[in-house]
């Protein structure tokens, strides 16, 4: 087993990996950009080294420098977390060349799965169902022919794309020309490659993904599914496991497909096969994420398997040591991603100092966070401040626990998405568990916080505002001595001055 691992990441996932290291008796080496000296992942690490200025391109993405730090510190392996260099095949290759173990699949596997068209071809060959469409890099003429064949609606996608960029939905024939043109120019601009492919657009799709674990000895198992259909602009907001209404048969079928996909590319480590599931129960391979996912924790909650530890063990050359029959689903788990975003203001990032931080606790609650009271959320990186995971014996218990935990969670100083999560967790469609990826657009106005409407809370807020104003005035008076000056805007300063009688202000 490794004695020391460098974590080429920051925030909650760096903390997550450090925790796994510490439980395994492995020393954890953190890296930090100039704004992250005081970050939680540094504070939890055994060693920490600066890696450059705040912009990621000059710090957390500096491959050579990071490998150099690892070698200098004597770290035998690097865990990339997610994001940054996690799915960069060149980084994996570099690590290998330099004699440092990359905790993840081989570089060529990442490249194969990273290219959507190649991935589709590979999966099709392995017998994994894919969304009807092309796997070719198409000319406009070929594209038109394919659309004719598959039938509308279709999705035009950039071969090199991801994260919703270079994607174009075409519902009507007259939109085809424009769709091709725009998708190509976006693809060119975003990825420097205007290759396109076309897929059947799946109506009312649900996003179901299967977690897989594989070692270097041909052992490969799946840890069942996660449902990630609650998305805002293609970004996951809330995930749950198991998925809603997934029958044991469908689960087994999707699990087999995911394992087949992983085996087809000789996968090693933890990975996720994303599928679209339509209303009829048909599922289609979407893509494979060759890293630990943000939402891996809900799978850990229902299976008890520590996925990050498994990644480390496998990377160290050990056998997986868990067979498919060893794992089963126990209960239900939900994850809410708490972002430093203002849900009242188009989810704009809300950086700043976290003045008060009181995470929830108690039974069935897990918090994976990269912050603490007094920490600063900087605008340089991903605005996720914490993942809140609840587990229950049943889905309804995990939902009730999530509501309870959200209510307990206090973050002051920055705006967070907590109020938005609370509204989702009270929405009848969510509670029924019958939603698809259109949920937020169709039922939450695309992501708008409903304005609080009257009620007891409103009354209390009005009165508390008066108390807060009174207290502030009193505090100002105390600081200024015994005389109350008005504020800058107040006419008191211009031509008035008041003194309070009695003991309060003396």
């Amino acid at each position: 087993m490794f004695k020391k691992i460098l974590i080429a990441n920051r925030g909650e996932i760096a903390v997550r990996v450090i925790r796994a290291c510490h439980e395994m008796g492995i020393e954890a080496v953190a890296i930090y950009s100039d704004v992250d000296r005081d970050a939680l992942h540094v504070r939890y690490a055994d060693e920490a080294y600066p890696c450059g200025p705040p912009p990621a391109a000059e710090s957390y993405l500096r491959m050579e420098r990071i490998v150099e730090i690892a070698k200098r510190a004597g770290a035998e392996a690097i865990h990339p977390g997610y994001g940054f260099l996690a799915e960069n095949g060149d980084f994996a290759d570099l690590c290998e060349r330099e004699g440092v173990v990359f905790i993840g699949p081989a570089g060529d596997v990442m490249r194969k799965m990273g290219d959507k068209v190649t991935a589709r071809q590979t999966m099709e060959a392995a017998g994994v169902p894919i969304v009807p469409g092309t796997t070719e890099r198409l000319s406009d003429a070929e594209a038109r022919a394919w659309i004719e064949k598959i039938g509308l609606p279709v999705m035009i996608k950039a071969s090199a794309g991801g994260g919703g960029k270079g994607m174009r939905l075409v519902r009507r024939p007259e939109e085809i020309e424009q769709g091709l043109k725009r998708a190509r120019s976006e693809a060119k601009a975003s990825f420097g490659d205007d290759s396109l492919y076309i897929e059947k657009f799946v109506e009312q799709p649900r996003h179901i993904e299967i977690q897989v674990l594989a070692d270097g000895f041909g052992n490969c198992i799946h840890l069942f599914e996660r449902e990630c259909s609650i998305q805002r602009r293609h970004q996951k907001v809330i995930e749950e496991a198991p998925g809603n209404g997934i029958t044991p048969e469908l689960r087994a079928e999707m699990g087999r497909a995911a394992v087949a996909a992983a085996k087809a590319v000789h996968y090693r480590g933890a990975g996720t096969c994303e599928f679209l599931l339509d209303a009829e129960g048909n599922f289609y391979f979407l893509e494979m994420n060759t890293r630990v996912q943000v939402e891996h924790a809900i799978t850990e909650a229902i299976t008890g398997v520590d996925i990050v530890k498994a990644m480390i063990r496998v990377a160290a050359g050990e056998e997986l040591g868990i067979d498919q029959e060893d794992v089963s689903i126990s209960g239900h788990a939900i994850e809410a991603r708490i972002y430093a975003e203002d849900p009242e203001n188009k989810f704009l990032p809300s950086p700043g100092e976290i003045v008060v931080y009181r995470p929830p606790g108690g039974i069935g609650v897990r918090v994976d966070s990269g912050v603490y009271q007094g920490a600063r959320v900087t605008p340089h990186y991903d605005p996720m401040v914490a993942k809140l995971i609840t587990w229950g014996r049943t889905r309804s218990e995990s939902v009730e626990r999530m509501r309870r935990a959200l209510r307990e969670f206090v973050v002051k100083g920055i705006k967070t998405s907590i109020p938005f999560h609370e509204q989702v967790l009270h929405h009848p469609i969510f509670l029924e568990g019958r939603y698809d990826t259109g949920f937020i657009d169709e039922h939450m106005g695309g992501g708008v916080l409903r304005t609080a409407d009257g009620g007891q809370e409103h009354r209390v807020a009005l009165m508390l505002a008066a108390v807060a104003a009174w207290r502030r005035d009193k505090e100002r008076a105390r600081r200024a001595g015994s005389v109350v000056h008005g504020s800058g805007q107040s006419p008191w300063r211009a031509f008035g001055l008041r003194r309070q009688l009695g003991g309060g202000l003396r």
Binding site: E344, V355, V356, R358, L406, R407, V410, K412, I418, P419, E422, Q423, L449, T451, A452, G455, Q456, E457, H458, R459, V460, A461, L462, M463, L464, A465, A466, V467, A468, A469, W470, R472, D473, V484, G486, S487, G488, Q489, S490, P491, W492, A494, F495, G496, L497, R498, R499, Q500, L501, G502, G504
Partner: protein
């Protein structure tokens, strides 16, 4: 004290009467209903408010001069709370922007001090009358520089809202 609390979104305004009963305990009247509210001291932490037994945790963030964003049980309110006397004086200040300046009592009170006599030259901001109202001594200053043209109150006198206190005439008027 009376605060005007308005919602920055709906623009609705409410009147909240506030009286401190003891440390952290307030008697508050809103829309004719008077309640006692126990507000735990909270420094850098979170408010705990108990209103007739009901307990609420509230996160209060100051926004600008008078604004308070208040989050209670997942509901966020954007409020402005202004001391009604400050508000009244603002209105008064606007109303007396030019010419001879008449200064009126903005609320009932007792005149505890008169600093000047008629004909005295005063500077803008110089104290003229001290009015005791709502347990506070309010020193009423000259709104402009000039001469005391009229002085309508004596020490010890009680005045009603709107009662004329004094008039300051600007220098040009005095010399014409």
């Amino acid at each position: 004290m009376i605060y005007q609390v308005s919602d920055r979104k709906t623009k609705e305004t409410h009147r909240v009467e506030l009286q401190e009963v003891s440390e952290g305990v307030y008697r508050l009247t809103l829309e004719g209903r008077t309640v006692e509210m126990n507000v735990a001291k909270s420094g850098r932490t979170i408010y705990s408010v108990i209103e007739e037994g009901r307990q609420f945790e509230a996160v209060v963030d100051e926004q600008g001069a008078h604004g308070f964003d208040i989050l209670i049980r997942g509901r966020l309110f954007h409020l402005e709370a202004v001391d009604e006397r400050s508000l009244l004086l603002t209105q008064q200040a606007k109303a007396t922007a030019s010419g001879p300046q008449a200064v009126e009592a903005e609320m009932p009170g007792k005149v505890v001090k008169v600093h000047c006599s008629v004909g005295d030259e005063v500077e803008e901001g110089q104290g003229v009358v001290v009015l005791e109202a709502m347990k506070m001594e309010n020193e009423i200053f000259a709104p402009i520089s000039g001469r005391i043209a009229e002085l309508s109150v004596r020490e010890g006198e009680t005045v009603e809202t709107g009662a004329l206190l004094f008039v300051v005439a600007p220098p040009e008027e005095g010399s014409s």
